[in-house]
Amino acid sequence: MLTLFIDGERLDVRSGSLLTAALAKSSNPAARRSVSGEARAPFCGMGICQECRIQVDGVRRLACQTPCREGMQVERLP
């Protein structure tokens, strides 16, 4: 198991999990909001659709292409 934080929420996930799994387990499955303010969550799961853009340790990433790491600080995008 390892521990990471999404907008300050502590999440414990199995080692080898992708960030999409941690998002699904969190209190809010959205990764970001669209231009018009709609919640957007992981969709294709394979790095194509760009829906799961999220900020990981200060850098833009795709949740579906990002393995969880111990202590990772994740922020949803406005």
Binding site: V35, Q50, R53, V59, R60, L77
Partner: protein, 371 residues
């Protein structure tokens, strides 16, 4: 021309939609036919820019920008219009000479502009690397052309849109691919590159372009940024060419262009060209290294041999009007193109010099064959 004319417009991109709107404003009943094929309006940046490489192009683009500015207060919010201006960038003394020449041409045309020295350029756009100077053209802007084209068609009850593929254009009539013929008082062919398949004597060739778009970020750039060497870089007569051209969208995204390739009629995004675009962009905006791209795509510009559009009567098919070959400047020049086409159909002189765009400069030999 009778007072109320029926006109068929082939193509619902920004040129066809603008022609339809101009004709409807004069009381014509207009039917717009579009096959739904990919076109340049949907692929391009939507940069509204006065271009001065050629005197005729300068007149056309300056007139058209004036017409766009009249339309701006009515545009819907989804048009994403922004009066961002263009900042033409010079890296060295030779390029400062190009800035000075551009300033003189714009001044002669009465187009507002402001030369900025190195410090003023850095102050205007802090994300840029150190440059020799720039020229600000504050009247330029940007918009999202597909929304504007659809809006233009919906504004008038005199315009009817029909999703249909045209297979033949012949004077004042067109045949749809289901075999039906439609006839009108005039036909306007504004189908971009597709026009060359409907009218094989049109000298149009595709020039492929790539564009990239970033994720949304807090504002990094305020003007549309274009290298002053754009003409030399982007209009090489053969091979792939790339010029720095970055546009700040209202969403906080940056559009990154631009490239031109001959004889690449496909739609593939080519990694080598993407690499060239990004290297060029990083030369001017080093901070882009920390910016995420979310998509890339391509489009085909419809280019004529002399780089100017064909606007006017078909030389040997009475009633057929051509509005094609705008290459990368169709969004900018759509309202003035429409003004010229509407004036021509009504037998009037438009408010600017249209002779350089007359189609008969390429198609002067009378032909017996239909389009």
């Amino acid at each position: 021309m009778k007072p109320v004319a029926d006109v068929l417009v082939v193509g619902a991109g920004i040129i066809g939609a603008s022609c339809a709107a101009a004709l409807a404003a004069r009381g014509c009943r207009v039917r717009v036919l579009d096959a739904g094929l990919p076109g340049a309006s949907g692929a391009g940046m939507g940069h509204l820019v006065v271009m001065d490489d050629d005197p005729a192009e300068l007149t056309l683009s300056a007139r058209s920008l004036a017409l766009w500015r009249e339309l701006v207060p009515q545009l819907p919010a989804a048009a994403d219009y922004r009066n961002c201006g263009t900042l033409w960038l010079a890296r060295d003394a030779a390029e400062l000479d190009l800035i000075e020449a551009k300033r003189q041409r714009l001044d002669a045309q009465g187009v507002a502009n402001q030369p900025l020295n190195a410090a003023a350029t850095a102050a205007a756009e802090p994300a840029l690397t150190a440059l020799a100077g720039s020229l600000e053209v504050p009247g330029d802007g940007l918009l999202y052309a597909p929304v504007v084209a659809a809006w233009l068609l919906q504004r008038s009850p005199l315009i009817e849109f029909q999703r249909a593929r045209v297979s033949t254009v012949e004077g004042t009539r067109v045949r749809l691919d289901d075999g039906r013929w439609l006839t009108a008082d005039a036909v306007v062919l504004a189908a971009g590159l597709q026009a060359a398949t409907l009218c094989p004597d049109l000298p149009l060739v595709p020039k492929k372009g790539h564009l990239l778009i970033t994720d949304r970020y807090p504002e990094q750039v305020r003007h549309q940024l274009v290298e002053i060497g754009y003409g030399a870089s982007a209009h090489a007569s053969s091979g792939a060419s790339v010029a720095f051209n970055v546009q700040p969208r209202l969403t906080g995204q940056l559009l990154i262009g631009s490239s031109r390739q001959f004889e690449r009629p496909d739609r593939d995004v080519e990694p080598a060209v993407v690499g060239q675009l990004l290297r060029r962009a990083l030369d001017f905006l080093p901070g882009l290294a920390h910016t995420s791209l979310i998509r890339g795509w391509t489009g085909q510009r419809a280019a004529s041999p002399d780089g100017l559009p064909l606007i006017g009567a078909h030389p040997d098919q009475p009633g057929l009007w051509l509005a094609v070959g705008h290459e990368g400047l169709g969004v900018t020049t759509a309202p003035a193109t429409a003004e010229a086409i509407a004036a021509g159909i009504f037998g009037e002189q438009p408010g600017f010099h249209v002779e350089p765009f007359a189609p008969d400069r390429f198609m002067n030999a009378p032909r017996s064959q239909a389009c």
